[in-house]
């Protein structure tokens, strides 16, 4: 850790020295450690199983030119963003590489907190990376991050009650209603609580109806006909006889648990549910199958919103060349494969999916790959957090949606949010 960057004035230094002297007996005060002069690339990334192994790989690859240190960020995405933003707003030079949720890239780029990828670095990233994840790393035509891992939602269903999976939203609801009438497992599960998960559904459905929430440059709230149809679809599922009573308080993990109990027929969720089902309900796992996300338009089936994480280099980093190098290493094909198999995070490089070792943990890899090629991206705007907070509040509870009216409300309030006016709920 280099102290010179943290302590701007001499007075600050003297005070720190005094404090350290007072606490010299305590080895617990890490800040009093001395500076060994070598370069250390500091990686700030959310906790991920076995990520320290990946860090070690990249430290080895440096052959002693620099060290790579990993600082874990909290599990909760809001907490991660809060910590990074707080430090970046203060111009903290201790952070070199930042792990960003795909929806934060535009915000960090617009604020000037992350450095653009150019030249050979840029070419290296774009080579072989899937188009969908790559879109999340761009802002205003420039590349600001390297996609580390990605994610898409699939339709999970029980093949014992649903022989052929539905292609469209209305087909799914019809099937569920029929199963319900026959007293078979019928429940439709999706994330409907007032949080980002509801926004993901709305954005997926809108894309699946060929609609738009925001204009392409992120400056205007459009909420077109496709979005209105998506609102109608949310309302339909919320008022369907086969909906879970917990819909309006359900998050990803809640619906996973509910499906594992065996009363549901359909679940719209990320692929993590597959591994979990194998462990907690091996019987049900045998009939636990997947299909592309059912769209509103039959020809758009398999359109899903992209999740995942991108790696960016901080503008305030004192070791940018090394940081770009480490970022490339952390998301190299080899390390992505390692993480995909050992930590369950889907890769962003197409070739990794074709690796034979991927077949066992990712039997659904073809479905994921197909969706990634036609994926929907959540509205790209620097004020995405505001958009998300507003959309989730306005759409909650989904049973209360009145499509044209709700659309009108979205249009006015989203426009205010885009202009940084008004109040968030």
């Amino acid at each position: 850790m280099r102290f010179a960057h943290r302590v701007p004035g001499r007075r600050g230094r003297r005070l720190r020295v005094a404090l350290c002297a007072a606490l010299v007996a305590s080895p617990l005060v890490a800040a009093c450690g001395s500076d060994d002069g070598g370069i250390t690339v500091n990686v700030y990334y959310s906790i991920e199983e076995n990520f320290d192994k990946v860090i070690a790989n990249c430290a080895d690859a440096a052959h002693g030119r620099y060290k790579v240190a990993f600082t874990a960020l909290p599990r909760d995405a809001d907490d991660q963003r809060e910590q990074m933003v707080r430090r970046l707003a203060a111009g903290d030079s201790d952070m070199d590489i930042l792990g960003l949720d795909v929806t934060w890239v535009a915000e960090f780029a617009q604020a000037g907190w992350i450095a653009e990828w150019t030249g050979q670095d840029k070419a290296d990233i774009e080579q072989g990376t899937l188009a969908g994840p790559l879109t999340t790393a761009r802002w205003q035509g420039k590349l600001f991050a390297a996609p580390k891992n990605t994610n898409v939602q699939l339709l999970w269903y029980r093949s014992d009650v649903v022989p052929t999976p539905p292609k469209t939203w209305s087909e799914m609801l019809d099937m569920a209603a029929r199963l319900k009438a026959e007293h078979k497992p019928a429940t439709v599960l999706m994330t409907g609580a007032q949080y980002e998960g509801l926004v993901v559904q709305f954005s997926t459905l809108t894309a699946g109806a060929g609609g738009k929430i925001l204009s392409d440059d992120g400056s205007k709230a459009v909420v077109d006909d496709g979005a209105v149809r998506a609102l109608q679809a949310l309302r339909d599922v919320a008022t369907s006889p086969a909906v879970s009573p917990s819909l309006s308080n359900a998050k990803e993990d809640n619906i996973r648990q509910e499906f594992e109990k065996g009363n549901a027929a359909f679940e719209l969720n990320w692929p993590f549910v597959y591994a979990s089902m194998g462990k907690s309900n091996p019987e049900l796992a045998k009939v636990f199958k997947w299909a592309p996300y059912p769209a509103l338009d039959a020809n758009k089936t398999g359109t899903s919103t992209i999740g995942g994480y991108d790696l960016a280099v901080s503008t305030y980093s004192q070791h940018k060349p090394e940081a770009f190098e480490v970022a490339k290493c952390l998301r190299s094909a080899e390390n992505q494969k390692y993480s995909a198999i050992n930590s369950g995070v889907p890769p962003t490089i197409e070739s990794v999916y074709h690796d034979p070792e991927m077949a066992e943990p990712y039997p659904m890899r073809d479905a994921i790959l197909t969706e990634l090629k036609s994926a929907a991206v959540r509205p790209v705007t620097p004020v995405y957090q505001n958009v998300s907070t507003l959309v989730s509040a306005i759409l909650s509870p989904p049973s209360g949606i009145d499509p044209p009216k709700t659309a009108e409300r979205l249009r006015t309030e989203l426009q205010d949010a885009l202009d940084s006016k008004g109040v968030l709920p």
Partner: protein
Amino acid sequence: MAVIGTKAPGGLKARWTLIDIIVVVYALVPVLWILSLSFKTKDTLADRNFFPREWTWQNYIDIFNTSEFLRALLNSIGIAVIATVIAVVLGTMAAYAIARLDFPGKRLLVGVSLLIAMFPQVSLVTPLFEMERSLGLFDTWPGLILPYITFALPLAIYTLSAFFREIPWELEKAAKMDGATPAQAFRRVIAPLAAPGVFTTAILVFIFCWNDFLFAISLTSTTASRTVPAALSFFQGSSRFEDPTGTVSAAAVVITIPIILFVLFFQRRIVAGLTSGAVKG
């Protein structure tokens, strides 16, 4: 209201036992639920049963298997104890002055300390972070101890001055007239009377420091000073979307034990203070 009765015939004892059982159930059933979650296996977590069907120690093994939890426990204990001691000492001094002495600016002090207690802490975190970063206090023990003292002091000052006002100080004078030195008068008369207030405050301040999440997550970044409530948010589920409910529950159980010990230790002092006060009074 039987509560105020002073004699203890058999029927009364039975009635008290019943009331006590109600209190224990009220306080402990939700805690037992957390305890039960901590012993459930991952697959039976969501089975809607109050008691685990399969018992496992795995969650406890998991949290103690990493050095991080132990380190956080150590940080929590050290930081909370130091902050409590300092806050109670400073609070006692100020409260004594407020309750017993006449000086200009008393109302100002009381008002300002209340103001500090009233300001939403979420809006103070960012400027505090900037201050601590430029002073090199970020991610150190003093970096948490200082805010804890600060935000515990208003409560400490208020509680203690409310108590000190009600203490019959003339007893001190009486003791002195009986030939006691000022030190003896303080130790034998005033200290026992003040003890309930001081130890009550100590318990409240300790719990406040122990449970704080906002400052702990915002003013630390490594295990050097991360306390347990902040460390909980670094626990992993099997994937990004799964909550580590089992390990978080186990950790919650473990970190409640020091609180119980702390309260056990201090509530005796409250009783002690009470009885001697009653005798002298």
